[in-house]
Every structure is written in structure tokens, then in C-alpha cells.
């Protein structure tokens, strides 16, 4: 059985470095309640709940879905908890979508969150462990050498990373839910920010945020009874490869390419740049935009930075806007970051993105990745029933 599936409700919290006004339950409910309201539904209308987040060490709660079952109205229902590192927000949505496409459930609530301020994200992501090589440089130290390799390979000029950092912050100014609202962002400001992990500057990195995202996914009947246009799932895919292995291409991982090929095949897309109207892609360091432009087939290998440089990925005149929400560079509650990408794609297709709406979006890509660029989750949503 393979039923159609659509996003019929989207909600997210206001994001901040520390949401000190809410408990963990209060925070996930804020997102879930908005998604239910958006879908004109209430807790009893939901058949199953799928929740995702990154490591439990962030909040110091073991398998927190057990504690959150009541808060999410899941009593008496099936509830699943997904954890696939940074890609988890995307994977969680895909697991929820399969509960619908399998014909199992009609309306599924999916939620992803991280309350990073309960602890410290740097600590939780890299708890020092015996026998593991000492952590020499933190999270950026892992990705900076990969970015250097990209720059060497592609010959990209230094200002590309700066341009992405500025563009996504400008986009974020239009998103009331975004964590960072940098009114005065400009090229010089990013260029002059401290070089944390050369070649990564401070303003080329993502913040650490508290926040949650939720969606209601529905079957064909639920979608057609929706008062707001649904965003139909045209394709969804996940791929994984090992963290490290001999000859692994970390700049342009095969798993990402395979995942994109799969999701495009399902959606009948042969030229993503032309056939997709906007993309929300997981870009935690600004250089990942040109890298993913190539990995996702929007540009030929080595050419991604030229697309960025041309302004094509900007909402202001670009033909393929990326990260209209401001992306991970503006908002990064790790476990929810992937779902925020998936949800933004839904908002755009449904025409519900407010000030960061791109006109006439018929098809949008949502993307998440995690681990050492090894776990990928993607979906393509469309305004037309597939």
C-alpha cells in the first residue's frame, strides 16, 4: 500500500539562545499547538506521534519521549522516537510520513526539538571520552578542513562564505520565528568577524538555539478536507554512509548525491535548478551552501560557488532562492533544525511563509544532514496532488 501524504499543519516556536520562559514540555507544546491550529485540528484528531531530537545528553533526559507522551497528547497512541544525529529533524518527518504512506494512519503529529540551554551544546556534542582521540578544536574544527578541501578543489574565492552568511541573515530578518535578527548585517561585518577555525569566521557559523518544530501530516482524505492548501509529498528519501572510510569524499558525499537522485526520481525532476522553485537546505557553516549546491545537483561539481556568487540563491532576485527562512545560520536547535527545513518547504508550497514567501512556489526541497556529513534526509513537496 502506498498512500499519498501531505503536510496539513506547520508550527514552530519562537527560537532563542535560551527559552527560559518554558519547560521542555512547554516548548514542544508551543510548536505542536501551532501545527494543530494551522491544521484546524486538536489532540484527539491525531492518530500517532513521531518525535525526534539529537543526543539525550543535551537535556539530560533519557529517552525523553517517555516524559513527553502526555504533553503531546500521545496517551493511548503509537509514539516513536527517532535519532539520526543532525539529520534527525528530517528523518523524523520521513518516518512520520511513512506512517501515512503505508496506509497505517490518517493524521500523524511529528515534532522535533532541542533545548540546548539546559546544558551546553559544545559539551553535549563532544563529551570527551576515554580512548577517543582528543578533541582538538571543537565542532568547527571538524568541518573547517573539509571546507578548505572544497575551496582547494573548486578554486572558490574567499568571499563566497561571507556572501552566504550575509544573504541568510537578510532572509532571517523576514522570519519572525528566527533566532538571529541581525538588522545591521553586511559584508564587512562578516569579513571582519573573528576567524574561529580558518577558513571559518565567527559570523559564518550557526548559533546555538532552543526551539521546536512540528507538523501534522495527513493522508489524501485529510489533505483534501484541509482548509489551507496542503503541501503534497512528491518524493522522500534517506541515505547513510559510514563516518570515515578509505577514499571517502567528505566534500561531496555519495550518500547526499544518491539521496538527491532518489528524491528527484520520485518527484519526476531531472533539472532541480529549473524544476524546483525554492530549497531549504541544512547549511550550518556558510560554505556548505556552495558545497550542497553541487551535491544536490543545482550546479556542476566545482561550480556551486559561482551560483552563490551570481546571487541566484537570494530571495532578492535570485532564480533559485535557498534558505528563505534564514536557515540554520539564523536558527539552530540541533534536533529541530532538520525539521525546520522540511517545514519551511511546506510553508512555501502552501503560500504560508509570510514575509519570506517566494511567489508562486509549486515545488520545494527540504534537506537535512548530520553526523560527519553521512546521514541525509530529503523531501520534495508540491502544491499539486502527485
Amino acid at each position: 500500500m502506498s498512500e499519498r501524504c501531505a503536510v496539513i499543519g506547520v508550527g514552530q516556536t519562537f527560537h532563542a539562545a535560551a527559552r527560559t520562559d518554558v519547560s521542555i514540555a512547554g516548548m514542544v507544546r508551543e510548536a505542536a499547538r501551532r501545527a494543530l491550529d494551522d491544521a484546524s485540528l486538536d489532540w484527539p484528531d491525531i492518530d500517532a506521534v513521531v518525535i525526534g531530537k539529537a543526543p539525550d545528553m543535551f537535556e539530560g533526559v533519557v529517552m525523553p519521549e517517555l516524559y513527553l507522551a502526555s504533553a503531546l497528547g500521545a496517551v493511548g497512541k503509537p509514539m516513536l522516537r527517532v535519532h539520526t544525529a543532525g539529520s534527525v529533524g528530517g528523518s523524523t518527518a520521513l518516518v512520520a510520513a511513512h506512517l501515512v504512506t503505508s496506509g497505517r494512519h490518517s493524521r500523524v503529529l511529528t515534532v522535533a526539538f532541542e533545548k540546548q540551554s539546559d546544558s551546553d551544546a559544545m559539551w553535549a556534542l563532544s563529551v570527551p571520552q576515554p580512548f577517543s582521540p582528543p578533541l582538538l578544536a571543537g565542532a568547527g574544527g571538524y568541518f573547517a578542513p573539509i571546507i578548505r578541501a572544497y575551496i582547494r578543489r573548486s578554486g572558490a574565492p574567499d568571499h563566497i562564505g561571507i556572501e552566504v552568511a550575509v544573504k541568510d541573515r537578510l532572509h532571517g530578518l523576514r522570519n519572525e520565528y528566527a533566532h538571529l535578527h541581525m538588522e545591521d548585517i553586511n559584508f564587512d561585518m562578516v569579513r571582519d568577524s573573528i576567524m574561529l577555525w580558518d577558513p571559518i569566521r565567527y559570523l559564518e557559523t550557526c548559533p546555538s538555539s532552543d526551539g521546536a518544530c512540528a507538523m501534522v501530516l495527513g493522508d489524501e482524505h485529510a489533505a483534501e478536507s484541509s482548509q489551507v492548501p496542503p503541501a503534497w509529498v512528491h518524493g522522500m528519501a534517506m541515505r547513510s554512509e559510514p563516518t570515515m572510510f578509505a577514499g571517502r569524499d567528505q566534500v561531496n558525499p555519495q550518500a547526499g548525491r544518491d539521496c538527491a537522485a532518489d528524491v528527484y526520481r520520485q518527484a519526476g525532476i531531472s533539472d532541480p535548478r529549473r524544476e524546483i522553485d525554492m530549497a531549504e537546505v541544512y547549511v550550518p557553516f556558510s560554505w556548505y551552501e556552495p558545497m550542497w549546491l553541487e551535491n544536490l545537483g543545482f550546479a556542476a561539481e566545482g561550480e556551486g560557488w559561482k551560483l552563490t556568487d551570481s546571487g541566484a540563491t537570494s530571495m532578492d532576485g535570485g532564480d533559485i532562492p535557498w534558505n528563505c527562512s534564514g536557515g540554520v545560520l539564523c536558527t539552530n536547535p540541533i534536533g529541530a533544525s532538520g525539521m525546520l527545513r522540511f517545514a519551511e518547504a511546506a510553508l512555501q508550497v502552501r503560500g504560508r511563509a509570510g514575509e519570506h514567501q517566494v511567489d508562486g512556489v509549486r515545488r520545494a526541497l527540504g534537506h537535512a544532514y548530520g553526523g560527519g556529513s553521512q546521514f541525509f534526509a530529503m523531501w520534495v513537496l508540491g502544491s499539486e496532488k502527485p
Binding site: M1, S2, S23, I24, P44, D47, A54, P55, D56, M57, G60, V61, V62, M63, P64, E65, L66, Y67, L68, A69, S70, A71, V75, G76, K77, P78, M79, L80, R81, V82, H83, A85, L94, V95, H98, L99, T101, S102, G103, R104, A124, L125, V127, Q129, A237, M238, R239, S240, E241, P242, T243, F245, P253, Q254, A255, D258, C259, G371, Q374, F375
Partner: protein
């Protein structure tokens, strides 16, 4: 189902009444799922492998633990990793004390070329459920499900305390034995179970485990010896508590015709469902397992009974005669509670593997129940078997899986498309 609590006041009765309303709505939904079971693509367990559960596995890292288990499961199914449509695993970072512990574990599969793969921070039984939903998609025919659990590196009584409410419960470090003791007490008080019966369950489990090569505790013992033990937390004595152990397990699933290619006698999953209880222990009636009952209704193991007032089905659901059940009861008192919820009478053989009291590697034991039940369907010793997995304090979350030698629920022998 007795969702009425022992009356300690009208106030508590109101909680029971609210639960009853929620329960009945869920039962309606579960019954709807059961009545539509034949619309799902048939999926079967075609192989199962499990490591021996040991008190402390410190020679091997998780990859070294998993590799032989994964190799054995794939070998028994006669497929290579490249043929896998999907891979899903279950584990918990806090057991080993390291974030992202599942990431390196994937090396045990050799995920290259890239694979469709996912992970739940839950028992592997829930990973199997996810894989089952993925296999409803016609473009994949096989899935590998694995899980690993190492409890020995840490102190499980502290680690599991952190599953409770982080604001009002966990700060008191209530260990899982103490929490389970509250449930055992409620059962003893209700007259459903005695301490002697708990000891008898342990004796039977350990005895049965003597024929299992993977069990951790397998021995004969005397009832008086067990009842003379000091309480860990009354009324629970050590024998009524599952041993702490390390282990790994893997299952290969296949859909439709592929299952018949890969196994002579696949164990068809003719029903599967899982349900969860309120997060607050104090809002639950611990003497019943409503969520097990709901999952049992959804899996087509049990019909809503006279107590499930108000539940009416669409199509009638045929309930098969069950030969044996593998129930995930980490505490002795939970086995009869689960059996009761699933309507399993004395004719059903419970936990022939020795169950969780003989081996309970966390995150693995639930998947192993499905594997053990499936093994007995595949070897012909059972025609219909029930498997159950649990997660959380006092059976908070429960999964029920119905396995049968025939693909059609209660129907004739037919490998679809065979």
C-alpha cells in the same frame, strides 16, 4: 479491560474515568487497524541472530559485538548487505555514556554503497516497526533491523532514573527497581499476584533458559531459596528483577515473494501495533497494562472484551489461536500483567526462551522477543506466536507483534504470489 482503579477516593476515580475515555478512543482506532490488516503488504521475519547476553562485554566494542550477529542474520537469510532495501537500528546513548553511539555501530553493516538507513533511540522492536512501515513501500523488499545494548559500563539504576520526569521525579534518583516495586505492590495489594508466584515465574524462566544458548541466567533453583532472599526494594527480590547484561540482536525482514525466496518457512507478521501510557506514574493504574491491551487489539491478538465498553468494530477481527508468547517482562510481576492484557490463557506457552528474567540486554530484549517468537514459527514448533516489547517505567510503552506460519491473518496457507 479493568481500567477502573482501586477506589481511594472519588478524585482518583475521575482520573480513571478520563483515562477510560482516552483508552476507548484509542481502542476504536486499534480495532480499525486490526480490521484492515489484510490490506497491508505481507512482511515476514526470515532470520534472527542474537549474541549471548553477558554480564559485562568489555572485550569488544559495539561494532565488534554486532558484526558477527549481523553476519549471522544475513547469512541465514542468504542475502548480502548490498541487497538490503532498508536498515534500521535501536539503541540508547546513555547506556554507554556517549552521544552518537549508534553512528559507529553502523560500521558493523558496512554501509557502502550508501544505504537507506535510520535509527530510533528505543528498543530494536520499535526499529522493526519502522522497518515494517518502510516495507509497505513497494520499492524495497528487505530490511535489516539490529540493536545493541551495553548496560555494564554504567550504573543502570542511575541511568534509568533519568527516564522519569526531569523536574519532579528524576531529581530524587528513583531507580527502576524502586519504580517497578510500586507496581508489584499494587498488584499484590489487588490480590492478582503473590510474592510466591513471582518466584515461580523466575524459576520457570531460568529453567527454560537452560535450553537457550544465549541466555545470561539459566539454572535450577528452589522456591524456598528464592523466597529467603532479601528484598532489593520490597516486594521485589533479586530473582524478580531481570539481570543486567550486554548483548546484540539482528532480524532480517522480507516482504511478499521475497520472504518465500529467503526462508523456507517465514514468520509472517500478521499484525503489529504499539501504544503508550501517560508520562506521570501517579496518573496511571499500575495494576493493568492498558497500552499492551491496545497494542494487542491493534495487532489482532485480542478482541475488545466486555470491559472495553463502547468499542465497536468495523469489520470483525478474527483472533487466531496462539501457541506461544514471548513477553518482554523485565520484572517477574509484569509477565502475568502482560499476559492478562493480551488475553493469553493457561494454554499459551509463555517465554519458552527464558524471557527477560534470563537475559535482558536493554534496547535488545524487545527485538529478541520478536526474534525468539519468529524462530519458533520458522522451525515449525509454533503456528502462531505473539511477541511483546516494552519501554519505559512500569511498562509505559508496549509493542505487540503477531507472527504466523501463514501470511493471511487467520487464513489459509499461502505465501502470497508463491
Amino acid at each position: 479491560m479493568a481500567t477502573t482503579s482501586r477506589a481511594t477516593g472519588s478524585a482518583q476515580a475521575a482520573t480513571a474515568q478520563a483515562y477510560q475515555a482516552t483508552y476507548l478512543a484509542a481502542a476504536q482506532d486499534a480495532l480499525r487497524l486490526a480490521s484492515r490488516r489484510d490490506r497491508f503488504r505481507p512482511v515476514a521475519v526470515v532470520s534472527f541472530a542474537q549474541s549471548r547476553t553477558v554480564e559485562r562485554e568489555d572485550h569488544l566494542n559495539e561494532v565488534e559485538m554486532l558484526m558477527p550477529v549481523v553476519a549471522e542474520a544475513l547469512g541465514a537469510a542468504g542475502i548480502t548487505k548490498k541487497e538490503l532495501g532498508f536498515v534500521c537500528s535501536g539503541s540508547s546513548d546513555y547506556l554507554v555514556g556517549a552521544p552518537f553511539s549508534f553512528v559507529m555501530a553502523l560500521d558493523a553493516v558496512g554501509a557502502w554503497p550508501p544505504m537507506r538507513e535510520s535509527h530510533v533511540e528505543m528498543d530494536g522492536a520499535f526499529a522493526l516497526y519502522e522497518a515494517w512501515t518502510m516495507l509497505q513501500d513497494e520499492d524495497m523488499d528487505t530490511a535489516l533491523v539490529y540493536s545493541f545494548g551495553r548496560s555494564s559500563p554504567g550504573d543502570i539504576r542511575r541511568v534509568l532514573a533519568m527516564q522519569l520526569d526531569p523536574y519532579v521525579e528524576a531529581p530524587m534518583w528513583p531507580d527502576h527497581v524502586a519504580i517497578a516495586a510500586l507496581q508489584a505492590r499494587a498488584l499484590v495489594d489487588s490480590g492478582k499476584l503473590s510474592e510466591k508466584e513471582m518466584a515461580e515465574i523466575a524459576l520457570r524462566s531460568w529453567h527454560d533458559a537452560m535450553s537457550s544458548p544465549t541466555a545470561q541466567v539459566a539454572r535450577e533453583a528452589g522456591l524456598e531459596e528464592l523466597l529467603a532472599e532479601d528484598y532489593l526494594v520490597s516486594p521485589l527480590r533479586p530473582h524478580a528483577v531481570a539481570p543486567v547484561g550486554d548483548g546484540a540482536a539482528a532480524v532480517v525482514l522480507a516482504a511478499g515473494e521475497k520472504a518465500l525466496e529467503l526462508a523456507e518457512h517465514p514468520a509472517w507478521i500478521t499484525g503489529i501495533d504499539h501504544r503508550i501510557e501517560p508520562s506521570s506514574l501517579g496518573a496511571r493504574d499500575l495494576t493493568v497494562s492498558g497500552s499492551t491491551r491496545l497494542a494487542g487489539i491493534g495487532a489482532g491478538v485480542v478482541s475488545p472484551g466486555a470491559d472495553d465498553l463502547g468499542v465497536t468494530g468495523g469489520a470483525a477481527v478474527e483472533i487466531p489461536e496462539v501457541d506461544l508468547a514471548e513477553l518482554h517482562a523485565p520484572f517477574a510481576h509484569q509477565e502475568p500483567l502482560i499476559a492478562e492484557a493480551l488475553g493469553l490463557d493457561a494454554s499459551v506457552r509463555l517465554n519458552p526462551s527464558g524471557g527477560a528474567l534470563s537475559a535482558n540486554p536493554l534496547m535488545v530484549a524487545g527485538l529478541a522477543r520478536i526474534g525468539e517468537a519468529a524462530r519458533r514459527v520458522m522451525d515449525g514448533s509454533a503456528r502462531v506466536a505473539v511477541a511483546h516489547a516494552t519501554s519505559g517505567p512500569c511498562l509505559q510503552q508496549n509493542l505487540v507483534c503477531l507472527l504466523a506460519a501463514e501470511a493471511e491473518a487467520g487464513g489459509a496457507v499461502s505465501g502470497r504470489g508463491a
